[in-house]
Point group: C2
Chain length 244, copies 2
Amino acid sequence: MLVKSQVKYIQSLSQKKSRDEEGVFIAEGPKIINELLSTSNLGLVQLYATAQWTGQSPQTQAGTVIEVSEQELERISLLQTPNQVLGIFRKPVFPKITSYHSRLTLVLDTIQDPGNLGTILRCADWFGVQTVVCSRESADVFSAKVVQSTMGSITRVQVLYEDLAAFMQQQSDIPAYAATLHGTDLYTMQPVKEGLLLIGNESKGLRDELIQLCKNRITIPRIGQAESLNAAVATGIILSHIAR
Amino acid sequence: MLVKSQVKYIQSLSQKKSRDEEGVFIAEGPKIINELLSTSNLGLVQLYATAQWTGQSPQTQAGTVIEVSEQELERISLLQTPNQVLGIFRKPVFPKITSYHSRLTLVLDTIQDPGNLGTILRCADWFGVQTVVCSRESADVFSAKVVQSTMGSITRVQVLYEDLAAFMQQQSDIPAYAATLHGTDLYTMQPVKEGLLLIGNESKGLRDELIQLCKNRITIPRIGQAESLNAAVATGIILSHIAR
């Protein structure tokens, strides 16, 4: 059974401010919930599940699962089609980063679409990139849509929000690569073992201020006529060439 | 001024059935409208535009622009934030395809998310792929969300809907490449000048039945731990390696 204060609390977590204050986020559906339950760097706060899920669920700590009806799940779900289980988790904890040397890091200049951000995190996870640094204006990685679209990568890829110009200046001894429309042909590049790869906003691209802080510019050669590539696709293509 | 029958007609075009019967689709916003107006393989039926747009619009045939107020545009727009102009266009006309020899063609097995389909079409357009063959269960390329996310590529990339198993059997003399999780390392492949590249559904991947019809299987090697890549990202990565 759900009480009113629980409904209110869960609904409040659709707001970034509430998620930040509480240090938690929401995930939904058996696939991602089971994946989150199996990882060790985040804690389960509470699960709200229908009998369908509790009947075949993985073992969880006593008291963490509240059984709800389909109708109750509908009241708290952010999905169009609620899917058996909704969970509140503490945000994952990662070791503090002491150095950006000897690895490839993604730097995102204001990716605004949550689906794009989630897709980029999956890409990073696929290609072994462990850290993604976002400008403060970017979508929140713990918004419901990002959580759903990362398919669990949020537990493995650390996402930081920084003032990017200041961050780039602090890391000026790390080679920086800007993804732009007029740079070095991607296909002529060697794998990058240490660097910052900068990807720009969906419609505006990278800010000039940031491009100026990059010694290297990368371009994906165009064969046809499209004006641009989707930011997540561009990230995937560049990583597939330089991250191996 | 908008009359009621116009509002009703425009709203009906959010349905695939109505779009198919009328042979038209809707696009919104100055950027894509201006791009569609400048292409020659589709015809303008009607534009509904605010004074802000008509004041600086490209030249259009007499009678094709109806000026509307912001409030009227809101009534007919499918966007959350209506943007100056909504246009009804006839679907683009492409020459009939007589052969799939000597070129690379994308074959999509039930891409269901309109955003993914649009992103894939932009990718195809970027890498010079002129034809995309979709299973009949795929998202409709003329749905509003695909039109917006292709950024004009729908005027350059021809999209066909076919029974894919039958299509593959008809084209059995064209080399077919299935994107799967257990195939040849993409990075060892040579560019493909003639072939069908098959990409599977977002969650289920390619149907076995279709994989069986492909002599070649391609895999993007995984370095990290993500379970899978987004379908549009995978398409972009594979095209970036084989379409150059």
